[in-house]
């Protein structure tokens, strides 16, 4: 089974990297960009008997290691 994991900064947590990239877009004529946040994307391949089990396990991985709950949120998508 495959899982996609998105780890993003919580609202209110400053993202200087996102700000810098947004500034770059604005300066090369993409003036319509009002906000940009950078996060992490992970592709995981795992053994699981069901989609539910896979989701439960990957969410556990996020809570334990893949995301830091102080500053990050996560979203899990099970593929296939």
């Amino acid at each position: 089974m495959k899982a996609n994991v998105y780890v993003t900064l919580k609202k209110g947590v400053l993202d200087p990297q996102g700000k810098a990239v947004m500034g770059a877009l604005n300066s090369i004529s993409f003036k319509e960009v009002k906000d940009l946040r950078i996060g992490k994307f992970m592709e995981i391949e795992l053994d699981a008997d069901s989609r539910d089990e896979a989701e439960r396990r990957v969410e556990e991985m996020c809570r334990k290691l893949l995301a830091n709950p102080v500053i990050e949120d996560f979203k899990v998508e099970i593929k296939g």
């Binding site: 947590v13 400053l14 200087p16 990297q17 810098a20 290691l65 893949l66 830091n68 102080v70 500053i71």
Partner: protein, 230 residues
């Protein structure tokens, strides 16, 4: 006194800490590999700076699962003195032994330079050799030293006197200009609620000899030895 100096894959300030404890302070010191499952017989544990596990994912996030960290948690839980410097501070935060997190520097760059920090609390076992409000010169060397915590945590830190060092001007003013990395409240070092675990981004072990540019960091080690001798 016997100091444990933890060694993770990627630690690089372990030898500096060993040198200060053993040769300058004249104490027993031993390296403890991160796979170790015992801290028996040690009076103090130091988590040195470096780049454990290459800083992959988040700084300290993988090192916190090293077997020795369960022992560090137990050691700290019994009131043992634990000092985390730079990457050591990051690991202690990831492990939840200290609150908050060290994020990427606001300016996105690795910063290696001398800074000044003000002693906010000299009532800890790590800072009793300093006078309150004293300004210390120490180097920083990090890309992720931008301290962040939610509002409630920050308030608790302030209310309980857990903020031990703040980045300041050389004359002791806490200003945005004196903040090298964007840390909330210019925070450079904190203790846990009980006061027996200190995490700090500046490197006191690199400020212990005149030949290396200053001795303002010695007070941390002198305070520790004083506290342990009691």
């Amino acid at each position: 006194m016997k100091f444990a100096i933890l060694v993770f894959p990627g630690s690089n300030c372990d030898h500096d800490c060993y040198h200060v404890v053993k040769h300058l302070m004249g104490q027993d010191a031993e390296y403890v590999w991160h796979k170790s499952t015992s801290l028996e017989g040690f009076d103090c544990v130091i988590l040195p700076g470096g780049f454990s596990y290459g800083d992959y994912l988040r700084t300290g996030s993988i090192a916190r699962f090293s077997p020795v960290m369960a022992e560090v948690e137990r050691f700290a839980g019994k009131g043992g003195l634990v000092l985390g410097i730079c990457n050591g501070f990051q690991i202690l935060c990831e492990a939840g032994i200290l609150p908050g997190v060290l994020m990427r520097n606001e300016g996105l760059k690795f910063i290696c330079k001398g800074v000044t920090v003000r002693v906010e609390n000299n009532g800890t076992p790590f800072t009793s050799s300093y006078s309150a409000g004293r300004v210390l010169s120490m180097p920083i060397a990090h890309a992720d030293g931008n301290y962040f915590a939610d509002d409630d945590t920050l308030k608790a830190l302030e209310d309980n006197g857990q903020i031990v060092f703040r980045y300041s001007t050389p004359d002791g003013r806490i200003t945005p200009g004196a903040n090298p990395n964007g840390s909330l409240g210019n925070i450079a070092g904190i203790v846990n609620r009980r006061g027996n675990v200190l995490g700090m981004m500046p490197h006191p072990e690199r400020a212990c000899e005149e030949e290396l540019g200053g001795t303002d960091g010695r007070g941390i080690f002198e305070s520790l030895i004083k506290a342990l001798g009691r």
